[in-house]
Subunit: 371 residues, 2 copies
């Protein structure tokens, strides 16, 4: 049976590993590289689907962990599935809950069978297994489901990471065996920390399972920037060119570009919306902090020539006022801008890759962005 | 000099006092009866100007009291005035601060000169006088400014109300004398509580000042519904037919219709947005409380056949989930619906007035709305 989600490689940069491609899903296609806004609780915080479409969002992420706790996947299934529930007609990817179980859940116990823990909402006892993570994600009905992985927090000794990586592979086999839904693809997740040998081994074992896409997991868990790059470099070149590569949890513009240069196609991160809610805006020349007094009568938009709804109409002075007054519209507008910025960044990267000029684009953009 | 804001009476209902009219301002015209969403701090909470336009908002209100405290009218003036600051190209009315001074400010002292008080934000000492209220509103640059009035909280004895009403008239003279801005109209405010004689006297004295519009103030300050109706009945019939009549602070659908029947043209109230933030929605058949468990798997929109962005795309089940999860999108969507509901209500009233069928519309609509 052909996968409902396919990746077509359209261009490869001659001097880096950067790629431009097209991801096709049952709910439309996505030009890559692409950034996916995070809709943890079936909503990208503060934004309507139409607003997302208007700033260039093509695919969003939602979290199976949060949604099984509240409102429960059976509610969403009764309402016609996640697309209809959240009013998003485009592609959706659901995270399996692996990352959240290891970052949010309380009184966690890991066994070969799965993970038992207490809900961070009400303390109720919950178990997630590879099989139940698939059942939940099939009920949600996203275009892409993720394998349930063991994602240890760093720093951790190599043996701990090796054990988690081996378990991730065993759980991936169980996920693949459990997965039935024909209009949903299941992606594998590569673990292995910053260890090249563990990453290489994990890739080799997952490739035998022939997933239609692969994620680089185990980043954004407390490691250094250099370790992230090592993890990507140990993973991406070993993945098949005809499958999409998704770096989980990375959204800092500089990191995103470095990852694109190393062959990554897809990204998600709460950074643009979380920073937006905290009045911190992404621009091509670095961060703009809207609460700063320097913006008191600043008539400039967040970023000159940005076509987003925040920059088209509002001054930094107004946005500063909204944040100081505790008005919702501040987080809304800053989130819109930050997401629009990342969408423009990946679109420009794609254009440079197709033009064969990505290396120059990368260097110039990183220099402007600053450290 | 002709007023920059004019009112044209287009139709009068044969069996009630209801009127349909057109209010023209330097920033466009408004079909009346009309409801003005409240943008206290230069933003209708959680909503972008484009979203307001899409649901039928034509004119918004902002509060001089809040804006002089933060960010200060000089900031807004430097940024090109309130329209440009908040990105609203349509008509704006600013409340003078009278109501807020008497409801929010601390350690208030009223003299003939004006009101001294402490800011509710930081306790700083502030004085508002008729002259400074006009200076602030001229700096903000709304299409309509309001006189600075003395608005006593009810219940109050008749002498207290009589004194406040007489002071309101004396202050109105000072406001009129202070007001210079040629592209801004200044409306008078009628006080007098629920006392017909005080209202009548206040109207008579204000009419001598020939304002281009008149507000019915002193309601929504703790009085009964019957007292509001008495205040309207004592005021509206005495006002000239060629001037707009604005009932301040009323937004409950039933009250709005009763006021339209008594000849009121304009309304403002925080009710639709405040209720929206609290998950309470206005519908033609009464309130819908989105947090209620009965909506857990309710696939219906807030209101069938409502064309607003909340009802077009989202179920009560999803909206309930948003509120229980503490997601911003809940308040946003419920506010959009509630404002759209009031705009549809006033538009339907207008249509009925023009068709000569307002009395039947009123009775049928009130019966459906319930008490």
């Amino acid at each position: 049976m052909p996968s409902p989600v396919r990746f077509t490689l359209l261009a490869a940069d001659p001097s880096t590993q950067a790629r431009a491609g097209l991801l096709t899903t049952p709910h439309g296609s996505v030009e890559t590289p692409a950034f996916m806004p995070v809709g943890t609780q079936a909503t990208v915080k503060g934004l309507l689907p139409d607003q997302l479409v208007a700033i260039g969002t093509r695919m969003v992420l939602a979290n199976a962990y949060h949604l099984t706790l509240r409102p429960g996947e059976s509610v969403i299934q009764q309402l016609g599935g996640l697309h209809r529930f959240m009013g998003w007609d485009g592609p959706i990817l659901t995270d399996s809950g692996g990352f959240q179980v290891f970052s949010l859940a309380e009184r966690r116990q890991v066994t070969e069978r799965g993970v038992s823990f207490r809900s961070h909402l009400d303390g109720s006892a919950i178990e997630l297994t590879p099989e139940s993570a698939i059942t939940i994600q099939e009920a949600l009905g996203a275009d892409v489901a993720m394998c349930f992985d063991h994602c240890p927090a760093l720093p951790a000794d190599k043996q701990t990471i090796a054990d988690a990586t081996a378990r991730t592979v065993r759980w991936a086999i169980r996920c693949r065996d459990a997965h039935r839904r024909p209009d949903q693809a299941l992606f594998g997740i590569v673990q292995g920390g910053a260890h090249e040998d563990l990453r290489a081994q994990c890739v080799e074992q997952l490739l035998a399972l022939d997933f239609p896409g692969y994620a680089i997991g185990g980043v954004s868990v407390g490691e250094s920037r250099a370790e992230v790059l090592r993890a990507i470099e140990a993973t991406a070149p070993r993945l098949p060119t005809d499958r999409p590569r998704y770096l989980m949890g990375v959204g800092r513009p500089q990191d995103l570009l470095e990852a694109i240069a190393r062959g990554v196609d897809l990204f998600d991160c709460v950074l643009p919306t979380r920073n937006g809610r905290n009045a911190t805006c992404l621009t091509a020349t670095g961060l703009v902090k809207l609460r700063n007094a320097v913006h008191k009568t600043d008539s400039r938009p967040i970023e000159e020539n940005c076509p987003c709804p925040a920059c088209r109409r509002f001054s930094r002075s107004y946005l500063r006022h909204l944040f100081l007054a505790g008005e919702m519209l501040g987080p809304i507008l800053a989130s819109l801008h930050n997401l629009a910025f990342l969408h423009r960044l990946t679109a420009a990267a794609r254009q440079a890759i197709q033009a064969g000029t990505f290396a120059a684009y990368l260097n110039g953009t990183l220099e402007l962005l600053g450290p």
